[in-house]
């Protein structure tokens, strides 16, 4: 897991121009700030429910979603979904408001952190069920295939989720149906407090691809460019009718399983990752020759402002009322 380089190496030919790099940086920075701020806000006691932070894993969502269209491409996410939402262009303020349970939230306050979705952006939802997303993504990919619109479906799941039967079945179905689908296993080493080294029989998630007849690769998730390259190849192949791919992204979560978990069981590991491997820092080093520090600092400032506004607007937004309780269960009923 931590076999990655300590010194930044130059990304291979990535074909990304300045605006694309700035975009990627903005996405990663937005995710990071969103999560760090949530960590603080959660401590105030004002955020209800369960919150699972994505900080540390930014390069994965960003590197994958950089290849996706809002319109024809769909992703499904997990309980740890904020990063995927932001990378798929869900409005950040609507996300924050959702987490605070407000009517201005992406889901009118009915979903919360674990169920943020925006179908108009091809974001089929965070998911409270481990392994809930992969079957749905088979369907999104099937719809794209039936329509022939070149769209792809991408399912994110964790190392823990890679042991769920629903996920394993979906790999097989995608292979059998030759779907335009990509399965991204974010292996952060733990499912709650259970280590992936123990729970993933055979030790490699990527190697499971072969069992279902699809290519599998394992990439360094601290390196945006590594993720970007692997995802690009898989998504291009899917669009071209070449079928599904499984990508294992090796990375680390900076916070506990959920807010409230002290994670004493891995304090050293987190310290090391933050200091030596951090994907945002590394990205800045990797693009040092291409982008000016000032450009990146300007984004930092813009993002900081956005997150500030998101929090203060969420806090000020109205809560839903009794009139909202029984609406939207059905489109039509009685």
């Amino acid at each position: 897991m931590t076999d990655t380089l300590r010194t930044p190496r130059a990304p291979r030919e990535h074909g990304l121009d300045g605006p694309a790099l700035l975009d990627a940086y903005r996405t990663m920075r937005t995710i990071r700030d969103f999560e760090e701020r949530l960590h603080e806000e959660f401590a105030t006691g004002d955020i209800p429910g369960f919150v699972h932070l994505y900080a540390g894993e930014e390069a994965s969502a960003t590197g994958v979603c950089a290849h996706l269209d809002d319109g024809r491409d769909v992703i499904a996410s997990t309980h740890r979904g904020h990063g995927h939402c932001i990378a798929k262009h869900v409005d950040v303020k609507s996300m924050m408001a959702e987490i605070y349970g407000r009517t201005t939230g992406a889901c009118h306050g009915k979903g919360g952190s674990m169920h943020i979705a925006d179908l108009s952006k091809g974001m089929l939802g965070a998911n409270g069920i481990v392994g809930g997303g992969p079957p749905l993504i088979c369907g999104a990919a099937l719809a794209a295939k039936v329509r022939g619109d070149g769209g792809v479906g991408v399912a994110f799941f964790g190392d823990g989720g890679s042991n769920q039967g629903t996920t394993l079945e979906s790999l097989n179905l995608a292979s059998v149906w030759q779907l335009p689908a990509v399965f991204v296993a974010e292996n952060n080493g733990y499912a709650e407090a259970t280590s992936a080294e123990w729970s993933v029989g055979g030790g490699s998630i990527a190697a499971r691809a072969a069992a279902f007849g699809m290519p599998g690769v394992s990439v360094d998730g601290f390196d945006f460019f590594a993720v970007h390259e692997a995802a690009g190849a898989a998504i291009d192949r899917a669009r071209a009718g070449g079928g599904p791919t499984l990508i294992e992204v090796r990375l680390t979560r900076y916070y506990g399983h959920f807010e409230g978990d002290q994670q004493k069981y891995r304090a050293d590991e987190v310290r090391h990752a933050r200091a030596e491997l951090d994907c945002v820092k590394r990205f800045r080093q990797q693009v040092a020759g291409t982008l000016a520090d000032a450009q990146l600092d300007a984004i930092d400032a813009q993002v900081a402002r956005l997150i500030d506004e998101a929090v203060s607007e969420a806090r000020a937004a109205p809560l839903p009322t009794g009139a909202d309780l029984e609406t939207d269960v059905y489109i039509s009923y009685l």
């Binding site: 992406a106 009915k110 939802g125 794209a144 329509r147 629903t166 939207d328 039509s332």
Partner: protein
């Protein structure tokens, strides 16, 4: 509408007509295209039920076989529905819900609410239910109460070929997720069915027989059992009103309550297990909303609280029959405070 076809044919015709009309309708399930990938298998089967037979050659690319991976393919149908298709997925036996229930009740059913009203998931999940074919405990259940309990799902129980066609077309056109429960002992039942396309709205009960003495609410295959009982009772001077709710969710409470308001007596006939089932659900509705009209205890005719036994000798005792309905109605009529 002089033409008579079977329940199976009625369903097949509904699927074919909707596939013809709307290119977004697709069909999937184990052997639904008839076995795939090997020579000569195309349309060999039309699902184990034969309901999809003939569709595969007629609608190329829109009738899909699946591996035995119910979570994956039922989930895929749901995911495809969120992207604008109208998939009709066959779970085969409703007893198999246990390997894929999550996709149905935690995903499809909840999207619209959890996502603040922004999801549309027009999926139909077909499954056969019910006892009577000596299929034993894991292939004979009537699991629809577990689906009826889930907010966000609609649940359909057609009681005849006519209902099967009209409700299926409605299910496909409906924008909410629908669980469509076909009784396995009814596929060969024949009845009059219009050749043209038509829909039967959800939440509108059918009044199978009008009557003044006792309201008998019966579901799915039990509608014909209750009708037989009503005929027998009529001969002995008891006039039953037989109501077929057609859908358990939404449930047409109005028709049931209005009937009990007239008759003062209720017997519910249901094939599901007795605990937390439809018989209880409808009894509770009436005991809450129309108590003042009730003149007798609410009768329930259901199987016992046991798995479905295999031996024909036991299964015949397990299933509600007209004799038990007659007895329940008579005891309601004869009841003295």
């Amino acid at each position: 509408m002089a033409r008579s076809i079977s329940y199976r044919e009625a369903l097949n015709e509904a699927l074919a007509q909707e596939m013809e009309r709307d290119p977004s309708v697709i069909v999937m399930g184990e052997d639904n295209a008839g076995g795939a990938g090997a020579p000569g298998e195309s349309d060999a089967w039309g699902g184990v039920l034969g309901v999809t037979k003939g569709l595969h050659p007629r609608f190329p690319g829109r009738v899909l076989d699946t591996p035995i991976s119910e979570s994956a393919f039922i989930g895929a149908a749901i995911g495809a529905a969120t992207r604008g298709l109208r998939p009709v997925a066959e779970l085969m036996f409703i007893d198999f819900m246990g390997v894929c229930f999550d996709q149905i009740f935690n995903q499809a059913a909840k999207f619209r609410y959890m996502f603040g009203g922004k999801a549309v998931t027009p999926v139909v999940i077909r499954a056969m239910y019910g006892a009577g074919l000596r299929a034993a405990a894991q292939h004979s259940q009537a699991m629809y109460p577990a689906f009826t309990a889930v907010p966000g799902l609609k649940v359909v129980l057609p009681s005849s070929p006519y209902e099967a066609k009209g409700l299926m077309i409605q299910a496909i056109r409906d924008d909410d997720p629908v669980i469509f429960c076909e009784h396995k002992a009814m596929y060969d039942v024949v009845g009059e069915v219009p050749a043209e396309s038509y829909t039967i709205p959800f939440g509108e009960a059918g009044i199978v027989r009008e009557g003044e003495d006792v309201t008998v609410v019966a579901l799915g295959r039990m509608v014909s059992v209750a009708s037989d009982a009503a005929a027998e009772l009529a001969a002995s001077g008891v006039d039953c009103e037989v109501i077929d709710p057609r859908t358990t969710s939404p449930l047409d409470a109005g028709t049931i309550l209005e009937s009990v308001a007239r008759t003062g007596r209720l017997v519910v006939v249901d094939e599901a297990s007795p605990r937390c089932g439809m018989a209880a659900d409808i009894a509770a509705l009436v005991a809450r909303e129309e108590f003042g009209a009730l003149r007798a205890p609410i009768g329930a005719v259901t199987p016992p609280h046991t798995p479905v036994p295999f031996s024909p000798a036991l299964e015949d005792l397990y299933m509600p029959d007209a004799g038990r309905v007659v007895a329940a109605v008579k005891s309601a009529v004869d009841w003295k405070p």
